[in-house]
């Protein structure tokens, strides 16, 4: 792995972000809107629901966590799609970048993009709603890490699809998060899902992350098992996603998709 090449690809997207104020605004705008919206919904539940009476910030905290996942995943896909839209795809794939360097660079850039959106949203929750996501304590780092890895995993899976099937796969890129959200049990406990859906939910790391966030906020206890399961599942999914990306790249070279995407 060559750090200069990884930095080079990061620089390509960093320049793009810093050149365009609307792009920065776009990164900040949606998370802020989401958080504000869910902040008011949380307030409503706090007033009228008995379930969340002791934890005003549960929904808002989960909204922030979900948004981080969403931004990371979409951010990774966007970086990949950006190369296709700007017809720069061929230039990238004829440069001496290893697949591992491309993935590493996009993972880092996606994190920075997600943080640009997330930090203002987190800062807003405290003065607007009197809630701080930092109430999750040390576990917050592990929850964010899990979401980050899973977001990246989804991004890599979708990018593998783009490599293999070309721009026609773009619609899948946008819908992945919405398809997965119901099984993530972001705003409700997994128990309310039908049995089969529960099995699907527990096969993904998301449910462990959000169950744990609720547990910490509502019961004030930490179940290290949830964090452990989420992490182990993440490692499995990430390994599969990276393997699939390599496989898709080789298939794209065989089928000619890299040429078709590039022009």
């Amino acid at each position: 792995m060559n750090l200069i090449r990884i930095y080079g690809l990061f620089l390509r997207h960093f320049y793009l972000i810093t050149r365009s104020f609307p792009r920065i605004l776009d990164l900040i705008y949606w998370p802020t809107i989401q958080i504000t919206l869910w902040g008011f919904i949380s307030n409503f539940f706090a007033t009228y629901s008995t379930y969340y009476n002791n934890a005003v910030g549960v929904i808002l905290t989960c909204a922030i966590l979900y948004d981080f996942l969403f931004r990371t995943s979409i951010g990774f896909n966007m970086l990949f799609l950006e190369e296709i839209w700007s017809r720069n795809f061929t230039n990238l794939f004829i440069s001496p970048m290893k697949i591992s360097e491309i993935i590493t660079s996009l993972i880092g850039t996606a994190l920075i993009r997600a943080l640009i959106g997330l930090v203002p949203a987190i800062l807003l929750t405290s003065p607007l709603f009197g809630i701080s996501i930092l109430n999750l304590g040390v576990s917050l780092f592990f929850l964010f890490l899990s979401l980050y890895i899973f977001g990246i995993t989804l991004g890599i899976l979708v990018s593998a699809g783009l490599l293999r099937f070309g721009p026609s796969f773009e619609n899948i890129a946008w819908s992945t998060m919405f398809l997965i959200a119901p099984f993530g049990c972001i705003y409700y406990p997994a128990d309310i899902l039908p049995d089969f859906f529960q099995k699907v939910a527990y096969s993904m790391p998301l449910v462990y992350v959000f169950e744990e966030a609720r547990r910490i906020l509502v019961e004030q206890t930490v179940n290290i098992e949830n964090i452990y399961f989420a992490f182990m599942l993440n490692i499995i999914y990430l390994t599969v996603a990276i393997s699939l990306f390599y496989y898709s790249f080789n298939q794209a070279r065989k089928k000619g998709t890299l040429i078709n995407i590039g022009e």
Binding site: N2, I4, G8, R12, L16, N91, I94
Partner: protein, 245 residues
């Protein structure tokens, strides 16, 4: 002179067709080889394999004495490509694009290299301008600077002067001739501009239906086919029945 590019029995099959059928050719150091043929003849597929974008179904490509499939990354650091069908990121300035690609190719003394290319390709006024806002001729020069950022030993050119006005087209051709001579690089030029091919190429490959149907110097081919110029040779070979298949 040594062969920088060696192509032996190269094939590419897609599920329903053979796009390239067992072709072989070499490009020597300090040589420009023309690759001609009608649309669908296999030129783009051949270039795609030489750039590593396509995996050959058979045969072997060696560049700078290295087998492509075994040394893909190392070879990619020694080659580059320009085509009007691919572009540099539009929202970045020319200088930012050159910086990004300089990093991707891990170039030492990148600023010096950018300064050199800026001077050679008359880019001084364009460096801080947004690439997407440049004219075709300006974009072409910026793309050429990107294609030379890594001091390639082998340069692949696909229609490098398409859509350029005669003055810029002539500038690009003169630049390529001089740069090749000074740096002893090999160039594969795919073009439909027969005057350009006649001027730049020492030898020419004519492709049709995935095969090399004829080859030689432009003068040899004109003489062999009894035509006035390379364009007429091209038309004769393109329109002929599959006599060479």
């Amino acid at each position: 002179m040594t062969d920088l590019v060696e192509v032996k029995n190269l094939k590419k099959n897609y599920s329903s067709k053979e796009a390239v059928k067992n072709i072989s050719f070499n490009i020597k150091e300090n040589e420009i080889l023309g690759l001609l043929g009608p649309n669908g003849s296999g030129k783009t597929t051949t270039i795609g394999m030489l750039l590593g974008l396509l995996k050959p179904s058979g045969g072997e490509i060696r560049i700078d004495n290295m087998i492509f499939e075994k040394n893909r990354i190392e070879i990619l650091s020694k080659i580059n490509f320009i085509s009007p069908y691919i572009e540099l990121p539009k929202k970045l300035t020319v200088k930012q694009n050159l910086t990004v690609y300089g990093k991707l190719y891990n170039i030492d003394n990148l600023n010096e290299r950018i300064e050199y290319l800026t001077e050679q390709l008359r880019l001084e006024e364009l460096l801080d301008r947004i690439t997407g806002e440049l004219s075709s001729g300006q974009k072409n020069r910026a793309s050429l600077a990107k294609a030379l950022i890594n001091k390639p030993k082998v340069l692949f050119l696909d229609e490098p002067t398409a859509s350029l006005d005669p003055e810029i087209g002539d500038f690009v051709r003169s630049f390529l001739e001089t740069y090749k001579q000074e740096n002893k690089i090999s160039i594969l030029l795919a073009s439909h501009n027969m005057n350009e091919v006649s001027r730049l190429c020492k030898s020419v490959l004519m492709m049709k239906n995935g095969l090399i149907i004829d080859e030689g110097t432009p003068e040899f081919l004109i003489d062999k086919h009894g035509r006035k110029n390379l364009e007429e040779v091209f038309l004769k070979l393109s329109r002929s029945e599959n006599e060479f298949n």
